[in-house]
Every structure is written in C-alpha cells, then in structure tokens.
Amino acid sequence: MALELKIEGIDAGYGAVRALHGISLSINEKETVALLGTNGNGKSTLMKCVMGMVRPTQGSITLSGVDLTKLSTEEIVNLGVAMVPEGRRLFPKLTVEENLLLGAFRPLARKEIKSNLDFSYEAFPVLKERRRQLAGSMSGGQQQMLAIARALMSAPKLLLVDEPSVGLAPILVSHTITKIKELKEKYGLTVLMAEQNFHQAIRIADRGYIIVHGEIRFQGDVKALEQNELVKSYYLGT
C-alpha cells in the first residue's frame, strides 16, 4: 500500500489556546510538501500532532489508513515516521554516536542499528570524524546534520523536518536544504517540511501549504505558490 499521510479537519491547542483550526492536508508517497508560514502560525503544533506529542481535539490523522491520533509517539515512530525537531533538540551532553544510536530506539531499528549507523556516516562523513565528540560542542550546521542523521537512524519512510533553517547562516541553510533533497532522492523519502524561508523551501518542494493563524490559507504546487498574492505580501515584500 502506498504511503499516504492524511490530515482531516484537525483542531489542536495548548490548554485554552487553540493553535490549529480545522487543518486538512495530505501527502503522497515520495512527495515533498512544504508547510509555509511565519512564527506562531501553528506549523510546529501540526508536526507535533502527527508525532502524537500534541493531541488534536477534533479531526483525524491517518498514515496509510492507520489512525495516528490514538497511538503513542513511539508507536508512530515504529510505523516509520521520524521528526527532526525545531532547534534540533540534540542530546548536547552525549556523544555524536550516542545521539545517533538514540535515533534507532524502536525495536525494529535496533536490529539494523549497525547498518543504519554506517548509512548515517556515509551520508554525513563529518559525523564519523566527530563521533566521540559531545554533540553540544559542534557548530550549528553540524548539529543540524546530526539532527537529520539521527532522524534517519530509525529508517523512516516519512520524514518531518521542522524549520531546518532556524539559527543557521544563509549558506548553511542552503547546504541543509540541498542535503535533504539528496537524501530524499537517494532513499525515496516522503518529506513534510515546515519552513519560514520561502525561497529555500520551494527549491525542494513539490507542493506547499500556507498556514496563517492556524488555518490553511492557500495550497498548490510550487508555480502557483510563487504567483500567489498571499505569498507575495507575506514573504516577498511586494
């Protein structure tokens, strides 16, 4: 069965604050979908909903027909979903290698831990050089690479990337995006990427959604996005 993430009409929030209002979104196998929007519009909340870290109060999230809203985060990871969290969220006081090993915590991935580790080092040679170094002592760009490599350790089919550009110099943002593209092509990943940086995001996205104040305000392919008025007013300053 082809992989398909389907989000239908979800509401979610934190206590009295509602962050998402009736969001619907779908991603098909091997697609790269960008979730665009500035800070505080609900991109991260949406990602956390998919990972089971925030529970929607309404609506449904299914992955190839399996209801994710009832599953724990570890069960969702078991289904082949991995997230690169915003701000990387590494384990700063553990070594690079320990960080990677923690990405393969699900029992299925633990069996393949050796080959997945080799695979991560192959994709990111710099991490192999620094495998005994504490993760917190690396540069921001390297930490971002480690965060992505760690997510790949669980051999996911669907990769969620939350704001890879946060806190990185422009050149590193570009590197990171290129790397995600490479990985996606090489391993046939399906990617949902939340990003503020419109120009970088559309370099690798097939389609995009614009989220404003917790609602999807526009969706379409990259061409349509570039010509959209909302995008122009929000991002391009015209």
């Binding site: 990972m51 870290m53 724990s72 985060t73 570890e74 969702i76 990871v77 078991n78 991995a82 997230m83 969290p85 969220r89 590494l90 384990f91 700063p92 006081k93 553990l94 320990e98 090993l101 923690l102 990405g103 915590f105 699900r106 633990r110 760690r150 997510a151 669980s154």
Partner: protein
C-alpha cells in the same frame, strides 16, 4: 566477564573474612557501609542515569524492612525470604510511585518523593501489628553455619547483595535502557520526539531502584533486632543515598560504590572518634564541597587527572 570474575573473588573474600578472627565491630560497621553501597547504587539508576532526583529512599528502604518484619512475625520466614519480600515490596512501591509521579519533572518529582516517605511512616506508626510508634523487639533466629555470629552472616549476605546490585546497575548502564535514560536526563523532549519510550524507561528504572532499596532494608530489622518507624524512615537514608553518587560520580556504576565507601566509612569513623551527631555534618560538608568543586565527583576528578597527565 572480568567484572564477574572480580565479583566472585570479592564474594569469596567477604566469606573468608566473615569466618576469620577479625574483630566483631568491623562487621557491625561494615554492614552499614555496604547498605549504603546498595542504596547509592539503587538511587543512581534513577537519580544518576535518568536525572530524576529521588528523596524517597527511606520509603523504599523502610517498606522493605517492614515487609521483612511482617513475614518474620507471621511465618518466621528465613532471611532469604525476607529479602525477597523486601525486594518485591520496594519494587511494587517503585511501580506505584512511578506511575503516579514520573510524569512530574524536576523539582516537582523530588517533592512528591519526599511525601511518599511521610505517607509510609505515618502508615507504619498506626499499624499495631508491627509495633506502631513504639516499635517492636525481634528475637533473631539461630545463626547459620559456618558463621559464628549474626553480624558476620549479615556482612556476607549484604556483600552478595551489593555485588548483585552493582551488576544490575552496570547492566542497565551499558544496555539500551541506560542509553534511553541518559537521553531522558539530557533532554526529555528530544528523547520523546525520537520515539524513546520515556515513561516506560523511567518506570523500569524506578521499579529496579525501588526493589534494590527494599532489598537493602529487609535485613535491617534482624541487624538491629528491633524496628521502629522514626529511625527506619529517617531522612538520613535519603541524604546518604543521594550524597554518595554525587561524591563518587553519577555517570558510571563505580561512582556510587566509591562515594558510598568513602562517605559511609568516614561517617562510621566520625561516629566512633568524635560523636554520633557529627556524622551527619560530614555528609553535608562533603556534599557542598563536591557540588561546588567537583560536580562530576571523584570519578570526574580522576578522569581530569588522567587527561592532564597524559598530555
């Protein structure tokens, strides 16, 4: 493998010592030191590896002691059965406390564990069968051969228990459980996002830690031939179990062992040479010194020394 050969040799040495002609007082004092090795090792599984500071040591220790007393009173159960019951009781309490409190983080978890101590103590004070507030005098059974006195036998039993406890802590440290717990300590949110089953791991740690603390408490009534709530649930156990890993180092299984030996031995020496009241002061002073000057404990100091001398 080397670890287990060392452990076996240590157990044999302890056995030989227990049947030798060494002064009786040595066993009396060593018993307390070894109890602290078990408590510190147990504490470190949750407090050191996972970073969940537990002030509830006396609750687990005491429930193990009382489980042993109940079995001894009701059935005249032998020491081994008492220890098994203490372990089960401590583990069960660990599970219960864990389910209720492990969702709390940081200081809130620590406060909740203090409450458990008072709850357990109050329960025991009001339970007549085990002596209530006044306590209960216990008649020790005959000592088993080849040991000449009860203290000697307890010394040997506690040594074996300590070896088992350290073996378990060492296994946890090197296995995927330990890796997950370290992730929890470093960043619980990131661990969760990676699919590390944080609550399950913390529960495992809490159950194992509680079980070992219960085991450590089980022989205590036989050691004293007496039990009463105030001293059994004394917060001194909480402080000692926490201070020893801090002083020795929390990252490695060896840390709590070194810390407990240093701290508890020093306390025993101070009790004898200066005064019984002063020994609590020793803990305080050492704890402050280490937290300020050597936050990674004796192991951390040793590591730094190794690094600087290899340069």
């Amino acid at each position: 493998m080397r670890f287990w050969i060392g452990a076996l040799l240590l157990a044999i040495a302890a056995g030989a010592l227990a049947v030798s002609g060494v002064n009786e007082y040595f066993f009396f004092a060593a018993y307390v030191v070894i109890t602290y090795i078990v408590l510190a090792t147990a504490w470190n599984i949750l407090g050191g590896y996972a970073g969940y500071v537990n002030f509830g040591t006396p609750a687990f220790f005491g429930s193990g002691a009382y489980a042993a007393v109940v079995l001894f009173q009701a059935l005249g159960a032998p020491l081994v059965v008492q220890i098994a019951a203490g372990t089960a009781m401590g583990a069960a309490l660990g599970f219960g406390v864990g389910v209720m409190t492990l969702r709390l983080r940081g200081i809130f978890f620590a406060i909740a564990t203090v409450a458990v101590v008072f709850i357990m103590e109050t329960l025991m004070i009001n339970w007549r069968y085990v002596g209530g507030a006044t306590g209960l005098q216990l008649q020790r059974p005959e000592v088993m051969a080849p040991f000449a006195t009860y203290a000697r036998m307890l010394f040997f039993v506690m040594t074996v228990m300590a070896i088992a406890a350290v073996g378990i802590a060492r296994y946890i440290q090197t296995s995927w459980v330990g890796r997950g717990l370290r992730a929890v300590r470093d960043s619980e949110e990131a661990a969760e996002a990676n699919g590390v089953p944080t609550l399950k791991l913390k529960l495992i740690a809490c159950v194992v830690s509680g079980g070992l603390m219960g085991a450590a408490g089980a022989p205590m009534p036989m050691y004293l031939s007496f039990i009463e709530p105030a001293s059994t649930f004394s917060l001194n156990y909480a402080i000692g179990a926490l201070a020893a890993p801090m002083i020795g180092g929390t990252i490695h299984w060896l840390g709590p062992v070194i810390g407990a030996i240093v701290l508890a031995s020093l306390q025993q020496i101070v009790t004898v040479t200066i005064s019984g009241e002063m020994n609590v002061l020793v803990v305080g002073v050492l704890l402050v010194l280490f937290v300020v000057l050597a936050p990674d404990g004796i192991l951390g100091l040793f590591k730094r020394w190794l690094k600087s001398s290899s340069r």
